[in-house]
């Protein structure tokens, strides 16, 4: 009887401590998220008066796959008609590898897919996001493009380059005076560092990295963040 009690005691102990763990492990083995998503939210500017730019053509890709600024990205993209006021557009970037960066380019064109001859030199805004993907986590980046990058004078470029032949461009980082902007392949790029990628913590924070430099999304106890694609009107 004592032996049987001991067995039951061990079984009960197992049921209390190991069984839930085993069950959870089994579930996790088959049911864990293996993808990562960056919710990229971009505010598009209003259609400028007197400009031929009528559409924003948004393309998102990874420089790790060769999609660098200054090279042809093909015709995978989204078209958003410009309106009289600014508007938000949201793109979910899904990846399965945590060690990639993300490039986004927004071309402002006459034709909706930038296929018009005149769109060959369409003004373009660029965004670079460093290390935004964490497996099983959802992260967020919000950026604003305040104006279509065409210009009459340097001031029209708003810190994203100098005015050359009606387009904002750059020949070095000194031409890109906006915060976090760098010059790449003749254009200023709005650079989002990994610690500015939002996610995995609630509460006020200066940035999204811990004191040891790790991103909060790398932590096991990361918290989910709520998300609204369009900020409230």
């Amino acid at each position: 009887m004592r032996e049987r009690s001991a067995i039951l005691g061990r079984m009960t102990s197992f049921a209390r401590s190991r069984l839930p763990l085993a069950l959870v492990s089994a579930l996790l083995a088959g049911g864990c998220a293996q993808n990562a998503i960056l919710e990229l939210q971009i505010e598009l500017p209003p259609a400028p008066a007197g400009s031929s730019a009528r559409f924003a053509y948004v393309q998102v890709a990874s420089p790790n796959s060769g999609f660098d600024f200054g090279v042809d990205w093909g015709d995978e993209g989204f078209t958003v008609p410009l309106t009289d006021s600014s508007q938000w557009t949201c793109v979910s970037v899904v990846g399965a590898s945590p060690e990639v960066d993300v490039n986004a380019r927004v071309r402002f064109c006459q034709e909706e897919r930038c296929l018009d001859v005149a769109d060959g030199n369409a003004p373009e805004s660029r965004i670079f996001v460093q290390d935004p993907l964490y497996i099983g986590r959802r992260t967020f980046v919000r950026r604003r493009i305040l104006r279509v990058p065409e210009c009459v004078e340097d001031a029209d470029c708003g810190g994203f380059g100098r005015c050359t032949s009606g387009r904002c461009g750059c020949s070095g980082d000194a031409d890109c005076t906006a915060e976090d902007a760098v010059c790449l392949a003749g254009g200023c790029v709005d650079r989002v560092g990994r610690c500015d990628v939002e996610g995995c913590i609630t509460g006020a924070t200066d940035n999204f990295c811990a004191d040891d430099g790790s991103h909060f999304c790398e932590r096991l106890d990361a918290e989910p963040l709520s998300y609204e694609c369009e900020l409230s009107e």
């Binding site: 579930l27 793109v91 990639v100």
Partner: protein, 241 residues
């Protein structure tokens, strides 16, 4: 968006006025005022750049220094823009309570936004907890004080959440789910005593039950694998190679 960006800039740190008599701020030194002003400007710049978390930190510190209602108003607006409805509502409440002499236009806006934010706060209503017991309740890892009021109400924002309630000599009660903006979800909290005894039947049942649970868990895990993947929130989706 326009409303979310409608931060206050013109009232740039008008120092704690008569309306802020209940606040902790006294007269500011020139250095303190300059620091608060710099924080306020940094907050506004962060808003312009869409860096809401930075804006929140700057406005919080600006308000802590100056007690200027404009800083608290902007803090509430930043919470609102981030979808932190509970924090936004509480900040608007603080604004109207601590600053009774608030500019009428600002007060009107604050009252409207406060109503909107309050309607978006999600609530988990925990029912059937004995008023005479005090379970240890944890919501998203945060301890929820139980002062005996029934039902226990847990306010939060939209999203996925988990709750664990523990009572001595009982199995933990666990709830996991997703709440939408303004949703009120009722959860019946049931505490089951931890079983005791030394019956052979119990041994067999326990062993069979354990095997069934593990097998079922594996099968369920396989079925759920696809379901467990994160889903894009936007219809515009890019799959990286």
């Amino acid at each position: 968006m326009r409303a979310a960006l409608a931060i206050v800039t013109l009232l740039l740190l008008a120092p704690a006025v008569a309306g802020a008599q209940e606040s902790r701020c006294g007269e500011l030194s020139a250095t303190q005022m300059e620091e608060a002003r710099a924080l306020f400007i940094a907050g506004s710049a962060a808003v312009e750049a869409g860096r809401w978390a930075d804006a929140i930190d700057s406005y919080e510190r600006a308000y802590a220094l100056s007690c200027a209602p404009s800083a608290l108003y902007n803090l509430a607006m930043a919470f609102r823009a981030l979808g932190r409805h509970r924090d936004a509502r509480d900040a608007f409440d603080r604004l109207m309570t601590l600053h009774p002499d608030l500019n009428p236009d600002l007060r009107t806006n604050a009252q409207q936004f406060r109503r909107e934010e309050a309607s978006r706060v999600a609530v988990l209503e925990l029912i059937d907890i004995d008023p005479d017991v005090r379970p240890e309740i944890s919501f998203d890892g945060r301890a929820i004080p139980d002062e005996g009021q029934r039902p226990v109400l847990v306010e939060t924002d939209a999203g996925s959440h988990s709750l664990v309630a523990r009572l001595e000599a009982h199995q933990p009660f666990v709830w996991e789910g997703t709440l939408a903006d303004g949703q009120r979800e009722t959860v019946q909290v049931i505490f089951r005593p931890i079983p005791t005894g030394d019956d052979t039947v119990a041994i067999v049942l326990l062993a069979v039950g354990a095997a069934a649970l593990i097998g079922g868990g594996i099968a369920l895990g396989v079925v759920l694998q696809d379901e467990a993947q994160l889903r894009p929130l936007s219809p515009l989706t890019v799959e990286l190679d």
